[in-house]
Amino acid sequence: MITRRDLLKSAGVGAIAIGAVSQPVFAAAERVVKMEALMPPPKGNRVVVCGGGWAGLTVAKYLKKENPNIEVILVEQRPVFFSCPISNPWLADLVGLDFLQHDYLQPAAKYGYTFMNDRVIAIERDKRRVYTTRGYIQYDYLVLAPGIRYNYSAWFGDNRELARLTKVNFPPAYIPGSEHLALKRKIHEFEEGDFIIVVPPGAYRCPPAPYERACMVAEVFKRNKVKGRVIVLDPKEDIAPKGPGFRAAFEQVYLGIIEYVPRASVKEIDPVNKVIKTTAGDFKFTDANISPPHQAGELVWMADLIAKDKEGKLTGWADQDPLTFQAKADPRVFLVGDVISPALGTAYPKSGHQANAQGKIVAKVIASRIAGKEAPLALPDNTCYSMVNGSPQEAIVINVSYEYNKQENKIVPRPRTINERSEALAKATYEWARAIYRDMFV
């Protein structure tokens, strides 16, 4: 956990790192130490939600729906919501930016929660405080829904320059904003050669995304008559999920454009000479979309709520109760969305749909707790459409429902997939998104 002492200490380290004990840095730390409360003390029913993505927005709205008297504060650093789901079709101009972007003010006004456009800089769980750039907020319950962060150090160790060059030149575009805009520009300006997509190793946000993205990049190349290939470097044995559906699209719709390379774990990346060395060989590239391993977002690290494996090593994902999403180490904190660890043998996919479904469960659990009750058991579900053809627009889908086996204390997934691409499913893809946007914003 980061304490005020740590803040002072890290400010000192920062000062040393830039070559002098600089007064302004200390002054900044002093300011944090002396920060004042941004609002009056809570009355037992204040929930601070950190992160205004698919999970956080849902928690905020549904807490107010469960009980309008609950005081809900949503802290989000971005001024505008930018959807990661459906951003792949947007790369190929199948939808406009207005489809992806939404304002935070409408739901805050309608449902009566406070939207605070600010950045969380520290969390003190012992004092139940969240520090933003402007002061601290006292909470009764805290929800951390920050999404993911990139773990470039898994590849580059302490070489931050290599990490910086890789990220700025070949952005992962898994965290919406500039990276997505940059990737779109690159794709549309691409003239010739090999465009590489690196699938992140381990658990990562939106498992089908790299394959859908390959289809959409190939769609742009096909449309622009570009002499180029899209090479997908995948550390996995095979395409998953929806493997047969993606493979069919690669071989039928984008034959000769998309090349899929399995068992290609990254060994080395040279962002200057544009070479990726993998366990499946070395690849020179013209341009690339390179995604390093993902981890739980910064706030979960800040709150010291990352799970450890049997050897005591940090796993990189949040340590939450599998059924309530409560932090195992702190009954006042809930961890929701892409940050979570696998639950009772099941790795819930890190998807927008899941985050929305989990958000509703967490809202019920917290509202029940505030009312002095226990919420009935509920499990999230997942539906994930992927666009695999741009002309005509065609999609495939996977749906997973989950059951809790009390006897074995296991969560059992029941997946259902349609790998036959169709225009009907493409239409349903957009309705899937529109419906969840409605749920979060209207």
């Binding site: 309608k110 749909h353 479904a357 009935p376 579900d381 539906t383 889908v397 749906n399 429902s401 259902r416 997939t417 349609i418 036959e420 009907a424 499913l425 239409k427 349903a428 309705e431 899937w432 529109r434 419906a435 969840i436 409605r438 749920d439 209207v442």
Partner: protein, 239 residues
């Protein structure tokens, strides 16, 4: 509800109850729980304006009409066999009595076509929420004889008051209370948790475009034109 509303509702229910004596007491009891809302008694008619008869409602075909508002869509289904009344239980512990099918075989039912999950509904362009007859199972869920929404695979049982079978919906589909009188069919109210407020909130822009104004979209009807879904919807999207 104030006394005036209550008296008005009683009047509506009383009119309806002339057909079915048990309906009056049942409806009023459920109204106290907020589970039944009486609206204008509306005659179901064909596109030519003549009253809809039982023989016009083909088994397992999907029909659409708009009730209680001019813009709120409903599905009318003949399930081909008697559909028994049922107690519909909600997740919040509340429940209500659903009357089952109407018609000579008690096989005709009607539901709001607004998905209780995230409010997908049939528009002139698309319908993502549809009835899947017994011989046309869903490709994704392999289930038939259901109402399924392709947006997020919410599944409802038309034989059991629109109860949730599977998927993310928290509530059953609201059911439209039908009465048969002298061979004609009437819609008289809505049973269950309707989604009308969310519907009007969500689709303000679309409804203005389609109906000219929000007020027109919200108008209560006393006559419902019934037509086959694929005559109203350009693309019936199944999954």
């Amino acid at each position: 509800m104030d006394r005036r509303d209550f008296i008005k509702t009683c009047g509506t229910v009383a009119v309806a109850s002339m057909i079915d004596a048990s309906f009056f007491s049942q409806a009023l009891a459920q109204q106290k729980d907020g589970m039944f809302q009486a609206y204008k008694k509306a005659l179901l008619v064909k596109q030519d304006g003549t009253p809809l008869k039982e023989e016009d409602i083909k088994p397992h075909a999907s029909y659409i009409f708009f009730y209680p508002h001019a813009s709120t869509p409903c599905y009318l289904l003949n399930l081909g066999e008697a559909v028994q009344p049922a107690e519909i239980k909600l997740k919040d512990g509340k429940s209500y009595q659903w009357g089952g099918g109407v018609g000579s075989k008690k096989s005709i039912v009607a539901y709001s076509a607004i998905c209780a999950h995230q409010w997908s509904y049939p528009t002139p362009q698309y319908s993502f929420i549809n009835y899947y007859p017994p011989d046309t199972p869903s490709e994704t869920t392999k289930k038939a004889g259901i109402i399924q929404c392709c947006a997020h695979l919410a599944l409802y049982d038309p034989k059991a008051g629109g109860s949730v079978i599977d998927g993310p919906a928290d509530f059953p589909l609201a059911s439209i209370v039908l009465q048969e009188e002298g061979g004609n069919f009437y819609a008289v109210g809505v049973l269950g948790r309707d989604q009308f407020q969310q519907f009007f909130d969500n689709y303000r822009t679309e409804l203005r475009q389609q109906y000219g104004s929000t007020a027109k979209a919200r108008e209560l009807v006393d006559k419902c034109i019934v037509m086959e879904v694929d005559k109203y919807v350009q693309a019936v999207v199944r999954c």
